[in-house]
Amino acid sequence: MSEITLEKMSNEYFDVLKELGNIGAGNATTALAQMMQCKVDMSVPQVRLLEFKEMGEMMGGEETIMAGIYLAIEGDITGSIMFLLEKQAARHLVNKLMGMQAEGEEFSEMEFSALKEVGNIITGAYLNSLSSLTNLVIYPSVPDLTVDMAGAILSVPAIQFGELGDKMLLIQTQFFDEMTLDGYFILVPDLDSYGKILSALGIG
């Protein structure tokens, strides 16, 4: 064990992630559409392996304000998953969900929990597809949400990837309703869970 580095596994793991990203984001889109009772489309997810330095830039700079939803996963595999959304996109979703036109800089407590629920549903849909593809039991924890600088939010998964190497994997998905919403999934399995995912998918 622990001979794993992201660079080494990237090719096969990439394909798997891309596929998972597709199915997961597809499920997430359906869930979003149901929740908001409108039509939501999505683009083909992009899987990216980025240097730590490149991450913030990708999201428009380390100081771009994002909403980050983070939860732990337990069960047959352990680790964590994060979903990031730009603040305006988060605002748009919350307004839509609550039937409001608020434009405030801050989210109220109720908006905050609505946003947490959005994140919960999106990450839940993603994890469901991971679970059904692998036949692994996956329990998500209660999510936590923060609205802060992209760099600061990303430091959390980056540090976890930092134990494996100097790069980090993320899946970028665009959702469209009236506007384009850029969302990012970051799945961070614990070291010994990588192997379990790969072998459950028959490529270990």
Partner: protein, 161 residues
């Protein structure tokens, strides 16, 4: 006006007055600024993990508190700072998310701060100011001319330590 040098995640650099040096969006990572007040030579490191010896893939020196701080000191001294006059200011090490987990990675901010303090103590470099912990991100800008360490956070007034 000098220029502003940017330090990324797992990165470090030297900075001489009148230039300033910055790192954006520190979360659980720690930013360590050091300065020789006489020569006004300083530097900034942005470390991600506490300890290089507990990790197998550890060739990226600025990523870890122990090796990163050592390298930062080496580089500022090579640039002309006096080793014995160096003082440090530190910021970051937040816990961005609050959920309970068996995984001790969640408390990595706290561990990063502890490792930073330990390393600086070992090198006998006093920490003269700090703004660490809590649950929000910080952007820092360090001015070797004055030693000012400016801290910006979302929805909070700018502070100088």
């Amino acid at each position: 006006m000098g220029k502003v040098i940017k330090v990324g995640m797992a990165d470090l650099n030297v900075c001489v007055s009148p230039d300033s040096i910055t790192t954006l969006g520190l979360g659980s990572c720690v930013g360590i600024a050091v300065r020789d007040p006489v020569t006004k030579i300083g530097g900034l490191a942005h470390i991600m993990l506490p300890d290089s010896t507990s990790i197998r893939i550890n060739s990226n020196i600025p990523k870890f508190a122990d090796t990163g701080i050592e390298e930062l000191i080496k580089q500022v001294v090579a640039r002309g700072a006096n080793r014995g006059r160096l003082v440090a200011k530190i910021a970051g090490g937040a816990q961005m998310f609050a959920f309970q987990s068996t995984n001790d990675m969640v408390r990595v901010g706290e561990r990063n701060v502890a490792a930073t303090k330990k390393k600086l103590a070992e090198l006998k470099i006093p920490i003269i100011a700090q703004d660490t912990g809590k649950n929000y991100g910080r952007t820092v800008i360090f001015y070797p001319e004055t030693g000012d360490f400016v801290i910006r956070a979302v929805g909070k007034p700018e502070s100088v330590i």
